[in-house]
Symmetry: C2
Amino acid sequence: MSRFSCRLAGLAVLALALLPASLPANERVISAEASDPQTMGWMEGFPPPADKLVMQPESDFFGFPKLRWTVCHLRELLPTEVVSRGLGAPEPLDYALDEEAIDALTFTPLGREREMTWQQSLSANYTDGVLILHRGKVVYERYFGCLDEAGKHGAMSMTKSLTGLLAEILVAEGKLDDQTLVATIIPELADSGFGDATVRQVMDMTTALSFSEDYSDPTADIWTYSVAASPLPKPEGYEGPDGYFEYLQTVEASGAHGEAFGYRTVNSDVLGWIVSRVSGKEVTELLSERIWSRMGAEQDAYMTVDAKGTPFAGGGLSAGLRDLGRIGLLMLNEGTINGRRLFSGTGRGRHPGRWRPSRLCQGGVHDPAGGSYRSMWWVLHNEHGAFAARGVHGQTIYVDPSAAMVLVRFASFPAAKNAPIDPTSLPAYQAVADYLRTK
Amino acid sequence: MSRFSCRLAGLAVLALALLPASLPANERVISAEASDPQTMGWMEGFPPPADKLVMQPESDFFGFPKLRWTVCHLRELLPTEVVSRGLGAPEPLDYALDEEAIDALTFTPLGREREMTWQQSLSANYTDGVLILHRGKVVYERYFGCLDEAGKHGAMSMTKSLTGLLAEILVAEGKLDDQTLVATIIPELADSGFGDATVRQVMDMTTALSFSEDYSDPTADIWTYSVAASPLPKPEGYEGPDGYFEYLQTVEASGAHGEAFGYRTVNSDVLGWIVSRVSGKEVTELLSERIWSRMGAEQDAYMTVDAKGTPFAGGGLSAGLRDLGRIGLLMLNEGTINGRRLFSGTGRGRHPGRWRPSRLCQGGVHDPAGGSYRSMWWVLHNEHGAFAARGVHGQTIYVDPSAAMVLVRFASFPAAKNAPIDPTSLPAYQAVADYLRTK
């Protein structure tokens, strides 16, 4: 396992890190405007016409362009558990809007020659919502597609970063030792590939597992995993694992843990299991108790669950845009929001100073292409010390400490992988950060 | 159709109106304390042991005693749609607690000789939560079983009363004429039994339909309806109707509309369809827009949906106890809460003064056993002018205008019908009202 300190790695890191850049030909042709769910008329009418129905599971509800409706309506298709904000009053964000100036900012997309404005990037990215905070105040906020300020959007793999945050909180409090072997905490995993990995290796995804997450391969493990995890009744005669916990026990090792980073969602589900076993609470409940009910959230969030009620710690969260802005502020400000400290990487725990959100890039595990992943947050190793939560189809919470900037974007880009969306995203974020640093 | 003005009808009205009083023998034996979901250990552990799982659909999740867990967790088993409270601050209820005095109140259960205290009635009724408001202030609030102040509980058929309220709001605004034939508004229902019924007949359930809601008869229509309405994939080879709207088109007439009251849930689903067609909004959306986002609600509510995203207007709502207290206050105070008028039966519409919540008992359609049902609210015709929303397993919003009292109870009584639960409920409510009238 190679660790390294902050270095200037440039914006290409994550764009290159995340696999195929190609889009199926039919997905290229429909623009953000033409694929707007309202324009498409998905689920409109009483009843919606047959060709406008988005149903689970037969209608390919997660395929583009239906995807653009589905990302705001996951609870209408799947069982879910609440992440409660509690019953108190929300604490509204402060505003210092500067939208005209930001819209006009220009940048050169990675690998291209012609400049683009920030405003142009929004439809290029199939943006559903974007919120930018500078020194704790909202400077930019826009909604498109299926989203509005009272809506919720699938966070996809950004869920992992919240699971990672919960684990770090437990580590800092001395309730979880990240050097413990997984089997010590979850004996059911002793015979699986996870058994002899440390919690830290799971947190940083340096476990060595036989698990293929190549969505383009119909025999990939990710599909067996999907069937196991589905909350819907299993197919007739199905005898495989039911639910996340049963599936995880079937994952085998492949090589030695700790030697290389490998992005596999099952690590997040194991971490969710660890967090629950150690805390005695579901991930949803702990997330509510430690974060959602204490950060002044405006909305409840929710997580999809398997048939046994286990929340999908690797990708099941849906939340409001502003509430993920609050998560970004917490990460930027070392666990503090609205003058209250919700968590801390320093002080009380057994690992003082080990994990400080704003210094993520001092830790981090080397990604083969140059990025790194620490406690389920991506570290960019750029000159700004930026780090991010990221999810398929363009989701991000992007934190730039040097610019005191938090940027949250929900999107429904046709392709899942971030590779084709990063070229018009990462340099755009950098341009906004550069602008905000001058203010 | 026989209408009649307020009269003294006594508390037996609804107890007698609501069918079989018998409980299966095995359901009698487990007390409220012994069947408490935490005592039973449903869904506890990571993962829960196999015999503690509550799963959809194979585990009989709505059977007693699992029911006592399920009523607080419907969204974890089924797809749902939010009824948004919006993003503002909740408006907390005022408190003037008087719990000791109320606990000690005594009453004689219907058909029995020995008195019981209010406090004793709570476990006799498998109460999950009870809230009593007097002159707008909370005088009593208790949680049991699966519920707490931040939880939500299935409202069951109380959902109908909210659908009825939405219809009344549209009538008062002149957007819906309750004398219109259903087929005029929903042409798809022209050939069904609903086609030549008036909206008012649907609202008061005086339609004459061939639809059996006898849950003890396995060939009853209610089961065909349940299969059609299920959001889960249909059984292999299923060719019947899919969803509420398709099913409703298959319901046939039986006799002449307007002659007798017949409690059939399908009326509420037709009314939901009418409300949506007229308003252009889903029931969830209209309920949020007109009520939930304007009454100072503490929590979002939600409704279960069919596979096409249609909310279950006849029974799908889950909500917080205090929020249903706010609904009761709105009904008691003619549409006013927190100094704001949210709706009105008088004034602007084409039917001034026609429907005033506190005068429900001046309208109402005669139930064969003596109660009446008006706009999907039960009217007791007692000397207090009380009216109520009611749902299976003991749910109620009970409004007593003469005592300025609103009482909300969530419960998970073993039997569905209210007949066995009313004897220890209706006289208990009356006792509390009598006490509050003296204050």
